[in-house]
Symmetry: C2
Subunit: 329 residues, 2 copies
């Protein structure tokens, strides 16, 4: 962990809410003058840090910006996801950056955030609107020991992790639309793009590209999207603390990634099934040129969706584009 991350962590976790320069100096093994210089730099970034001769340093407020050291300071050091965090002000797409990291041999768990993306994309090559400072747009590098066909498990796991992070932060209860869109009041607030690179029988790396509409207002969405997309701010009626929410998202994603890699996908699937709005519904799914109609029954052991067609046949669906149909009586 960097010195700035250590300082922010100490300021946040000390019981009295304050830390003396002497304490910090001893803990981090650098001079009090060096501590003072770091504090000044954090202030320049917008951190409101009070210095008092008696109590020492107190963190009064943090800016609403994504800062790698700040995010690191909020996470447990044993976490895989987020042990390497990089923040870009603007990129084409965070997935592209992480793809480069993957090829350079960077370890799994690296996360790249962008305050805005010029070429953000969703599933099926669709554009993803990602205005500056209003959402969380990020990609995660994973190197799971999975066969390519089992990567669906990660998609399922990421959906429930995001749902839990939203619930813990806003007390709203998102539903999941197959495979991993989160909906609030029927409108999309987040999506996950899963990209994998593999040999025939094993994955080399997986990139989860995640977009969450956090503090966007109606006017931040193009008119064409307003009937189908929303944000946590619109749905909860309040501004969300983005850095703290980002940390919570990484904590929950780490939790479910561990469940998948430790062989507990059954629990993950059960949680997904409980908050899915796709199961036990008549659905129409577009997979490439094919349209499949039927009733979504449940997930299989790899996280594929099992759909009972009109002809009674069980179809195994990976990905695709779901439309819910009115349940016939």
């Amino acid at each position: 962990m960097t010195i700035d991350a250590e300082i922010l962590r100490s300021l946040r976790t000390n019981e009295t809410g304050s830390v003396s320069g002497a304490d910090l100096s001893q803990r981090l093994n650098i001079s009090r003058a060096a501590i003072w210089a770091r504090i000044e730099e954090l202030r320049a970034l917008g951190y409101d840090i009070e210095a008092s001769p008696h109590r020492g340093y107190t963190l009064r407020a943090s800016p609403d910006l994504l800062h790698a050291d700040d995010l690191l300071s909020r996470l447990d050091e044993s976490q895989i996801i987020g042990r390497d965090i990089r923040v870009f002000q603007n990129t084409t797409s965070t997935n592209d950056i992480v793809e480069k990291l993957a090829r350079d041999g960077v370890a799994e768990g690296a996360v790249v955030f962008a305050e805005s993306q010029s070429l953000g994309r969703g599933r099926l090559g669709r554009e993803w609107v990602s205005p500056a400072g209003k959402g969380l747009w990020f990609s995660i590098l994973l190197r799971p020991k999975l066969a390519p066909q089992a990567v669906t498990k990660l998609t399922i796991a990421s959906a429930i992790a995001l749902a839990r992070a939203v619930r813990n932060t806003t007390h709203l209860n998102p539903e999941i639309k197959w495979p991993n869109d989160l909906l609030l009041a029927g409108k999309k607030i987040s999506g996950v793009l899963t990209e994998l690179t593999a040999e025939l029988d094993h994955v080399k790396h997986v990139i989860l590209g995640i977009g969450i509409n956090v503090n966007m207002t109606e006017s931040d969405f193009p008119k064409t999207l307003r009937s189908t997309a929303s944000s946590l701010r619109i749905q909860s009626g309040r501004l969300i603390d983005r850095p703290e929410f980002a940390a919570e998202v990484l904590r929950q994603l780490n939790h479910d990634y561990k469940r998948v890699t430790e062989g507990c996908f059954f629990d993950v699937a059960e949680e997904w099934e409980n908050i899915s709005c796709t199961l036990n519904r008549d659905v129409q799914i577009q997979v490439g040129d094919r349209t499949i109609k039927g009733r979504a029954e449940n997930l299989d052991q790899d996280g594929a969706l099992l759909v009972r067609t009109q002809h009674g046949h069980l179809e195994r669906i990976i990905g695709g584009d779901v439309t819910m149909r009115k349940n016939e009586p």
Copy 2:
């Protein structure tokens, strides 16, 4: 097609075996002086081109080197595989080069050859010995409309295409060991490394990395490999014309790639089954940490191997490492 490729094609395909400077000049729409300059450059590369006042130019011999224009000149212009050919004298791994081309949006069918590789690799991260000028080490960029789990089809298709190219060139009959190793007299002469990049439900690109031991002698192999690896030269007892063999390989690969993308995988699988030495044998397959023992029965619709285990259960195998066991009586 480049001018050099057009000249070489004209020299090879003209019925009289010769082409006049005037003919070439008219066909390619450049001056006779320019034709002369190109011929001089081809000679410098090692092409033995005779110039006679009566007959014009005659190609007497081609050098045993991989030259992009030469390879292009030997292929039908309608071919997808090989419509863009690049030759490197030395690279780390041709798969790495093609991966970069893929990310840069290069169209499918591009082929990268290397005369030698410093970091050539086979399946499961194994080293692939690739000495200069003795083999064909190349990678192909494909962008098929396939689901990730159907990419096995391309592995199966590439194996039969390579087997046919070897048969047409040497009159030897290679066997295929699951999934795509070619064997002659029980020794490996070629292998294919299949790498894919995909979203959950569709492939973005596939790279076939192919290594064929062509003109290697015993001493070109490390001692540890001599009992398990061989070359076309060792098995046929003669030197193979590498450029012509390379062109034949690309022709056959193109043929089977078309069969897969046009929905004729059934024919491909049947051909594979006919020359496989894995089917109807008792096999032991290592897939990651698991060992599966049973009898290899046939391929399924996606090209996975179906193995009947000792318990009568049918296992679907993708990749893995096969050992043939003596058939029990």
